[in-house]
Structures are given as structure tokens and as C-alpha cells.
């Protein structure tokens, strides 16, 4: 079984996106493991940011985007933190202050015309201090037949992101779901309430520090702990 090795650092990139460290190959510990895999320590590294020129249609799109947001008075380097290209998909990491401008540019510019925002979802990286919550937006352009992804990172103690419902009304329920499941507050959302959990539910279930909440399954003489407390591979 090949373990994924830490990817080689591309030229010009000063740091990799390390989101955590994996200790041991198994989830639970103290189970009498003698294989040695329990002592494995490896960093979890997301794909490295891409350097210009990207090649292919990515350059054209990025040029268009940079010009459009520059037209709106925001220099591109301010708005876009980094660009990641992996498996033929491009992701723009955008700073939250400029998200609304970015979204307006995506919708209105004729060269971009991303009519459909496929929704926002959250990802929780508890070990990436200062950038724990990522809100991932997906955009589809029917006219130009292409897709991009926009990612906004916010710290856990200040999880506010401007809502883009004014630009893309379809995001309404998606933002509510992200609030419900992660606790990211979307400023400017018309009615940010719980949508999937009961209205008075405490906590945000899909965060990594929220337990899965299962109960042990008991049968004649045997007990199986719930999935998040079992000994299993990472």
C-alpha cells in the first residue's frame, strides 16, 4: 500500500498547504497494535498553489477575472489569495471582503457569465489555525460551458462571510445549510435560520469537533461502539 508522499515543492512556492498531521494509521489507540503503523506520523498536505502561466483555458479565465475585479476598484492580488489547479479544476481562494465584488463580476461580465452558483458548502479544518472554516462556492457557466470553484477561508472565532444572495438568489438555502451545519454566519442573508436540524438544536453538526452521536449497538453478550469510536483506519 503506497502511502502518499509529501509532494515536491514547486518552484516559487514558499509554503505548502498543510492542514494537519495524521498520527498513526488507525483511529483509536490503546488497542494492542504491534504492527508499528500506530506510530506513523505524516503531514496532510493539500495540493500546492499554481504559478502563472497555468496553461490551457485557465489563463484566459483568470485574466478576465482579474480585469473585471480591477474594474470594480479592487486589485487582483488583494482579492485572490492563491489559485489551485488540481485534476483539471481551478479554485480561486478569495478574501472574504472582496467576495461580493468577485461574485458580481462573475455574474455580470460577458466574458465570464457564470449564471449558476451551484451552492456553497463548508469544510472544517480544525488544525489550520486562523483559517478553520472554508466556504466552497461552485460556479457553472452555461454560455461558456466551464466550471470554477471559489473558496473563502475564515477563522473559527470570527466566522463571518458576506452573503452573495443579493447577487445569486439561489444561494439562499445553501447558505442556511452551511450556517446550520458549520456555524458560518453569512452577513446580509435575509433569513439565516436552521434548515436541516430542528430550530432549537444546539451546536453545528458537521464540524469536526461535533461527535457523530451514535450509540453502541448491543447484542447477546457483545457491544459494538459507534463508528467514530471504533478502531478503524484513518
Amino acid at each position: 500500500m503506497s502511502e502518499p508522499s509529501v509532494p515536491a515543492v514547486p518552484e516559487g512556492v514558499r509554503e505548502l498547504d498543510v492542514i494537519g498531521v495524521r498520527h498513526g494509521a488507525f483511529g483509536a489507540s490503546g488497542s494492542g497494535d504491534t504492527s508499528g503503523f500506530g506510530g506513523l506520523v505524516e503531514p496532510i498536505v493539500l495540493p500546492a498553489p499554481a504559478i502563472r502561466p497555468f496553461g490551457g483555458w485557465y489563463d484566459e479565465i483568470t485574466d478576465e477575472i482579474e480585469l473585471s475585479i480591477a474594474d470594480r476598484g479592487v486589485p487582483a492580488t488583494d482579492a485572490i489569495e492563491k489559485v489551485v489547479i488540481w485534476r483539471d479544476e481551478i479554485t480561486y481562494h478569495v478574501r472574504r471582503e472582496h467576495l461580493l465584488n468577485f461574485a458580481t463580476a462573475l455574474r455580470d461580465e460577458p466574458g465570464l457569465r457564470f449564471e449558476i452558483c451551484l451552492g456553497v458548502s463548508g469544510v472544517h479544518y480544525p488544525h489550520e489555525t486562523g483559517r478553520e472554516f472554508h466556504a466552497v462556492y461552485l460556479f457553472l457557466s452555461i454560455t461558456h460551458n466551464c466550471r470554477i470553484r471559489v473558496e473563502v477561508s475564515v477563522p473559527e472565532d470570527d466566522a463571518h462571510i458576506p452573503s452573495i444572495v443579493a447577487v445569486y438568489p439561489m444561494n439562499d438555502w445553501h447558505e442556511r445549510e452551511t450556517w446550520d451545519m458549520f456555524g458560518i454566519i453569512f452577513d446580509g442573508h435575509p433569513a439565516l435560520t436552521r434548515i436541516l436540524m430542528p430550530d432549537d438544536w444546539p451546536g453545528h453538526p458537521q464540524r469536526k469537533d461535533y461527535p457523530l452521536g451514535g450509540i453502541p449497538v448491543e447484542y447477546k453478550g457483545g457491544t459494538i461502539p459507534p463508528p467514530d469510536q471504533r478502531r478503524s483506519y484513518h
Binding site: M1, L118, H174
Partner: protein, 460 residues
């Protein structure tokens, strides 16, 4: 979780005599030797929120989660003025299962069994979207054998037929056409027979797995499917004869649930609703996957923007799906159905052994007596699972309801770090308000039936 009742304050009122001087919502209360007796006459909305200026009556009707016509556990909160709906809101979340969080603790192959139960009428599409995402992250999309891709397309198109049949059946039932329901379920049994023959289960088959499909078609599989297709076509004609150009059906559905292209673009609607506005947007044509570029089929559109148009689109899509299934049957060639890379391919082919259990004797012989490597691979794949490189991918398929997308974030381990599904029904339900405000209560039901939401997918 009370829906329309006022919160009871009788406990406090018992000890607070000053409430007698104020307006008491529980009209008719009096003291007895054993305490205060209240006559509860139900709550009035006026005591919670005053009606806006000039309004005399404000009736809020709750078409609650348990309702025969709301297409599943959907709560519709309607504010009505006579028979006209002035405001319509959806309450969802009654089927929230926490599937996405649960998948973070299961290996990638086990994830297929979870994913299949989201939109339970289109299990094959859920599985395919997820498997395409996993394969994309593994970067093995080209290595999936062609036979597996053809089988996937065939299963998906059959599932499209089954899903549209249920849409018509339940839509008909909700509007009162109970015969449509019987027709729809009768035809659906033919498709479920094929699914049972191929995968062993009628519904929620964990059939499409990362790298291919779980098991090959049986020897007479192609023949059986070839026989079923013309039968389906003939039976479909029954439903068409019943409902198309039926003046009662048209009276209920023409002009109802109007949502034009601007509305669809504002709300991000995809699927039959978008195609009913005239825009021929179909992911199978614009961003083909699983070899869809090799099949000949049309994208069905209408220009009427209403429930009747969507209904006609669904019928024509079923016919196009039958066309694709026939092309699959012609195109299928013998070959492997799982990827060659033994570190990813699911080791065993399912089969029924002589003792009725699911062990495949040939596979057991191979791993126990012939190949040590095969045994190790089997063990590691079943207990640990394969590892997917760290990163995030998104892959989308055109499900019968719209664009179904799977956003997969992997941290390099054996379990996904985060899986999120962009469900078309979740998005499309936002249009209930736009479609039904201003129309009558019966039209709300027709509009919801035309959106065809499946609450398992909406709530996940």
C-alpha cells in the same frame, strides 16, 4: 415540535393572579377548590403577531410533513386568502440523516452504500456522481473499463425511466389521477426486475463502485433487457394515452407553476424545469461523462414554462432513455467490469454460492489457494480501503431532477475528509414560493409535483 399551536402559559398563569386583569387567551377560566380550570380553545395567530395594517383575516395553513400530497416529508406553510395563496414557504429537514457526516467515518467503497440512499428514487445517479468524483481524485477516470462505463450508462438511463415513472405516478396521485399511479408503478416493476437481476436488489443497490461496477451482467442479462425495452415502450403508451391531451389533466396543469428562464436563472434551477423554458441545457451533452458523447439522443425542451410542459418533457425523456438503452445493448462488448489496478479494484464479484450465501467460490479459490497477492489485496481493500490523494474535486451528472454534483475533499487517507452533495431537489425547491404565490392551493400541489423533489436528497 408544535406547528400551529400557541405556547402554553397555563403553568405561569396559575401562580400569577395579575393575568386576570389582562387579556386571557384561554377564554373561560374559573377557580375551583382544586385550582384553576382553563377552557382551552386553541391559539389565535393574533396573539403572537398582529396582522398587518388593513388586514382582517390572516390564515396560515400548514400542509404538514405528514401529508399524502406533499411528495414526501415536506412542510408547506401557506398563507391563504380564500383559495388564493399569498405566501408559500417550505419547511424541510424532516428527513435529515447526517449522511455526509457519517461518510467521513467510512471507507470510500462503504460510502457508496450511504450515497445510494440520499435520493432514493435515483440510486444509480447518486452512486455514479460519487464514484466519478472518487475516480477523478484518484486520477483513474480513463482506466475504468469500457464495459463498466456502458453498464453504468445503461443503469442510469433505466433509473431515469424509473424515476420519471414515479414522478408521473405520484404527481398523478396528488392531482387525483390514481390510475396514473397504478400505471407508473406497474411499469416501474419492469425496470426494478432488471435491477434485481443485475445487482440483486430492487432499490438502493450499492452497484456502481469506484473503479467500475460491483458485478457483471448475468449471461442472459442483455437478452432480458432487450426483451423489456419494447414492452416498456408499449406500456408507456398507456400513460401517454391517458394523460396527454386529456382536458382534465391539461386544465390542472397548463399555465400552472409558471417559471420562465429569468426565474430559473435567478434560482439556479436545472433539469426538466429549466428545459421547460426552452433552454436545452443537459450535462450529458455539454459536459459528457461515462462515454455519453458516443450515444445519440435528443435533449427534450418545451417552451410553455408550466407544469404541463415539464410533464411532456419527462415523457419524452423516457423515450430518449429507451433509445440510449438500446444503443448500450448494441455497444456492449465482453470485457472486465472493474479497473485493472488491483490496489483500487473491489476484489470480489458478487454471486450466489451453492449454499445460498453470497460467496463467490471462484474468488475464494483464487485467494486461498492460488495467489497470495490476491489475498493480501482483498484483505487490505476490505479492511482498510484504498487511499485517495489529498485535494478536492467536484463531479456532476445529469440526474432526472437536475444537476447532481458531488464535492469530495480528501485528506490523503482511507476515508473522505468531507463529502457534500449538491442535490438538484434541494435547489429546485426554492422555487415553490415563486411558482405558487398568487395561485390556488391546488396549484401549489401541482407545482411541487412538477419540481419532483425527493426529500431524501433534499435533506440528506
Amino acid at each position: 415540535m408544535s406547528t400551529e399551536n400557541v405556547s402554553y402559559t397555563s403553568a405561569e398563569a396559575e401562580f400569577d393572579d395579575s393575568i386576570d386583569d389582562e387579556f386571557d387567551p384561554y377564554s373561560g377560566s374559573y377557580d375551583t377548590t382544586e385550582g384553576r380550570v382553563y377552557t382551552v380553545s386553541g391559539g389565535d395567530w393574533d396573539t403572537i403577531s398582529a396582522a398587518p395594517e388593513g388586514e382582517k383575516d390572516r390564515i396560515v395553513v400548514n400542509m404538514g410533513p405528514q401529508h399524502p400530497s406533499t411528495h414526501g416529508v415536506l412542510r408547506l406553510i401557506l398563507e391563504i386568502d380564500g383559495e388564493t395563496v399569498t405566501e408559500a414557504r417550505c419547511g424541510i429537514g424532516y428527513l435529515h440523516t447526517g449522511i455526509e457526516k457519517n461518510m467521513e467515518f467510512r471507507s470510500f467503497v462503504q460510502g457508496v452504500t450511504y450515497v445510494t440512499r440520499m435520493d432514493y428514487l435515483t440510486p444509480m445517479f447518486n452512486e455514479t456522481a460519487y464514484c466519478l468524483a472518487v475516480e477523478k481524485a484518484l486520477d483513474v477516470t480513463e482506466q475504468v473499463p469500457e464495459r463498466a462505463s456502458v453498464i453504468r450508462v445503461m443503469m442510469m438511463e433505466l433509473n431515469r425511466i424509473a424515476s420519471h415513472l414515479v414522478a408521473l405516478a405520484t404527481g398523478g396521485m396528488e392531482l387525483g389521477a390514481l390510475t396514473a399511479m397504478e400505471f407508473g408503478f406497474r411499469e416501474r416493476e419492469l425496470v426494478l426486475d432488471i435491477f434485481e437481476m443485475v445487482s440483486g436488489l430492487r432499490m438502493n443497490h450499492a452497484y456502481i463502485r469506484p473503479g467500475g461496477v460491483a458485478q457483471d451482467l448475468p449471461e442472459d442479462g442483455v437478452q432480458k433487457i432487450r426483451e423489456t425495452v419494447p414492452l416498456l415502450r408499449k406500456r408507456l403508451k398507456d400513460t401517454v394515452d391517458l394523460l396527454v391531451d386529456n382536458s382534465i389533466w391539461m386544465g390542472r396543469t397548463v399555465g400552472v407553476g409558471y417559471l420562465d428562464l429569468t426565474g430559473c436563472m435567478a434560482l439556479g434551477i436545472t433539469g426538466p424545469i429549466l428545459r421547460a423554458t426552452g433552454l436545452p441545457h443537459d450535462l450529458r451533452k455539454s459536459q459528457p461523462y461515462c462515454g455519453y458523447e458516443n450515444y445519440e439522443f435528443e435533449v427534450c425542451t418545451e417552451t410553455t414554462n408550466d407544469v404541463y410542459g415539464r410533464f411532456l418533457i419527462r415523457i419524452r425523456e423516457m423515450e430518449q432513455s429507451l433509445r440510449i438503452v438500446e444503443q448500450c445493448l448494441d455497444r456492449i462488448k465482453p470485457g472486465p467490469v472493474m479497473i485493472e489496478d488491483k490496489k483500487i479494484a473491489w476484489p470480489a464479484q458478487l454471486s450466489i454460492g451453492s449454499d445460498g450465501q453470497g460467496n463467490s467460490p471462484e474468488h475464494i479459490k483464487e485467494i486461498m489457494s492460488e495467489s497470495m497477492e490476491a489475498l493480501i489485496h482483498h484483505f487490505k481493500l476490505v479492511t482498510e480501503g484504498f487511499r485517495v490523494p489529498a485535494g478536492q474535486v467536484y463531479s456532476a451528472v445529469e440526474s432526472p431532477k437536475g444537476e447532481l454534483g458531488c464535492q469530495l475533499v480528501s485528506s490523503g487517507g482511507t476515508r473522505p475528509y468531507r463529502v457534500h452533495f449538491r442535490e438538484p431537489s434541494f435547489n429546485n425547491l426554492q422555487s415553490v414560493a415563486v411558482m405558487s404565490e398568487g395561485s390556488m392551493i391546488a396549484d401549489v400541489i401541482a407545482a411541487v409535483a412538477s419540481i419532483d423533489p425527493v426529500m431524501g436528497g433534499v435533506d440528506r
